[in-house]
């Protein structure tokens, strides 16, 4: 569904991604892990379209999207969430999602008709609200939500664009155990309808959710395998997981 071929990006003398090739298959939850500084954020930026790669190609649904802009990629069904929460803080929770629904349903060069009359927009936004478990907070200003709820809204914004593939950039960042559990449950709920590329440091979540795991070390993919194979992969163990792999409950 998503295929990366030899993606490279340099920042001055620093090689952030070094010929990354990767395939995400339709319907899977594909996790991308790697130590800090491995180039995960750069890679996500290149896939989503905010960072142009120096070389290499990106194919999504068999189309070359290497040069497509961020918003064009969203229109083809490739949406993302951010590691650092990026929501419309002064909008209500419902308005946040209604805007994302609006963005994918028809043109917004409509200057006269009030949005409030578009029942359909808000109905669809409400169904996303239900999915992310924020129905009761719909009229609250987004900035007043608790951290975990803001993270859920962050993912909701990506889902509201009705993506075929969603990039989740550390959805559990800064979450407590209870909030993490809810996020895992949310990803479990959406995995039947959308392909997920998950970047996450919470190994517990990664091993629970992922169908396949790719390990990025120093800008290169060193392995792409099933979770149980990753656990026993010598190279991965040496390069990244080290001693942490001894126990099952591994937190990065």
């Amino acid at each position: 569904m998503l295929r990366l071929e030899g993606l490279s990006k340099r920042f001055g003398g620093v090689v952030a991604t070094d010929g990354v090739s990767l395939e995400v298959a339709q319907g899977e939850v594909h996790a991308l892990i790697g130590p800090n500084g491995a180039g995960k954020t750069t890679l996500i930026g290149q896939i989503s379209g905010s960072l142009p790669p120096d070389s290499g190609s990106i194919f999504f649904l068999e189309r070359d999207i290497t040069r497509a802009s961020l918003h064009e990629r969203v229109r083809t069904g490739l949406a993302r969430s951010y590691q650092i929460t990026s929501i419309f803080r002064r909008f209500s929770v419902l308005d946040n999602l209604a805007l994302a629904v609006q963005a994918r349903s028809g043109s917004s060069f409509s200057f006269w008709r009030p949005v409030a009359e578009e029942k359909d927009l808000f109905e669809q936004a409400c169904s996303i609200l239900e999915e992310i478990g924020l129905s009761e907070k719909k009229d609250q200003t987004a900035s007043t939500l608790a951290h975990g709820e803001q993270r859920a809204l962050e993912v909701g914004l990506a889902l509201a664009t009705r993506p075929r593939l969603v990039l989740l950039d550390e959805p559990m960042a800064g979450m407590g155990p209870e909030e993490s559990r809810r996020m895992i449950a949310l990803i479990e709920r959406i995995r039947s309808s959308v392909t997920v590329l998950l970047v996450e440091h919470d190994m517990d979540a990664v091993f629970r959710l992922a169908d396949r795991i790719s390990v990025l070390v120093a800008g290169r993919i060193v392995a792409t395998e099933r979770p149980e194979q990753i656990r026993s992969n010598e190279e991965v163990r040496r390069a990244y997981l080290g001693d942490e792999m001894q126990g099952d409950e591994v937190a990065a």
């Binding site: 969203v74 419309f88 963005a103 994918r104 060069f109 914004l157």
Partner: protein
């Protein structure tokens, strides 16, 4: 709502009352205030709702003023032609300037819009055929709207029309997108909105309305000179928006009324005690205006519109 109706009634009766009192000066003055209110409202769309801090809005007012004036000077005196031509020319200018400027952000955007406006200022200064730096005096207003009361109602209709359009626009899909881009541009792009296109459209609409205000201004005074494009005019419009309320429906109009009203009061109604304290203070109206602006920024960041609305709703 009740306040709006009251305001409407007062504005409608005002010229008739003034005419009865044989004081047409204030009818003409009110027209001027309302023209500036239209210009400031248009800036508020770009600056307040769109978050585009344009420091070159006078370029569009000036384009409209000059195109409107040149039409009349060349014998095309119908307002039905001169004013739409002025509006279209300003829209075109905004499109060209916006297409370049909107590729920059922050301080660079402020500076590049200023630079474009200054370029146009010097351009009209050198247009010898149309008066150069001395300006262009017109034989008449567009469509012979010489009657102050009639002209007042025309301007009032345009002002109310533009505020109503702004209200519709901000509640529309387009308006939500514009405000969303102001709030979080990166996120707007990441939910699939082509940010540049929406910002440019907003900038062009604001420029077009500013151009209409410029054409009205030229007709009102039967005169234009390059100073309508001077950077200090852009600053004045910005002060009006900040005074009145950034991103508030009535912000531009209130700011224009208060600023021009204040200037008029300081200049025309000498205060003996202040004169004793500071002779010639009337030549420095900017000082008083500055003090008011300072007070607003410090104590009422939502502007006068925010004060009037109370604390019940933050900027949409």
């Amino acid at each position: 709502m009740r306040r709006s109706i009251l305001l409407l009634v007062v504005l409608s009766i005002f010229p008739l009352a003034m005419q009865a009192a044989d004081n047409l000066f204030y009818v003409s003055f009110a027209s001027r205030v309302m023209i500036y209110a239209i210009a400031a409202t248009s800036l508020n769309l770009a600056l307040g709702y769109g978050g585009m801090i344009s420091f070159g809005h006078a370029a569009f007012v000036g384009t409209g003023a000059y195109v409107g004036a040149i039409c009349i000077a060349e014998g095309v005196t119908s307002a039905w032609i001169a004013w739409p031509a002025a509006t279209a020319a300003a829209a075109l200018a905004a499109w060209l300037i916006g297409a370049v400027s909107l590729r920059t952000r922050g301080v660079y955007f402020i500076m590049i819009t200023l630079a474009f406006a200054q370029m146009m200022f010097y351009l009209v200064n050198s247009m010898k055929a149309y008066g150069g730096d001395e300006g262009l005096t017109l034989p008449q207003r567009a469509s012979d709207l010489g009657n102050e009361v009639v002209f007042y109602y025309v301007v009032l209709a345009f002002l109310l029309g533009s505020i109503y359009c702004l209200k519709r626009l901000t509640e529309s899909r387009f308006g939500r997108v514009i405000v969303a881009i102001r709030e979080n541009e990166a996120r707007a792009e990441a939910i699939g909105l082509p940010v540049f296109r929406y910002q440019l459209a907003c900038f062009v609409i604001a420029g077009a309305v500013a151009g209409l205000a410029g054409a009205l201004l030229a007709s009102h005074g039967k005169y234009v000179n390059p100073n309508v494009l001077h950077w200090s005019q852009s600053g004045t419009l910005m002060i009006m928006v900040i005074l009145g309320g950034v991103g508030r429906l009535w912000g531009g109009a209130l700011g224009a009324a208060v600023l021009l009203g204040l200037e008029h009061l300081i200049a025309d109604y000498p205060l003996a005690w202040l004169e004793a304290l500071a002779p010639n203070y009337q030549q420095h109206a900017g000082l008083g205006v500055g003090a008011v602006l300072l007070a607003i920024v410090l104590f009422a960041p939502q502007g006068i519109a925010g004060l009037l609305a109370g604390k019940k709703n933050a900027a949409a």
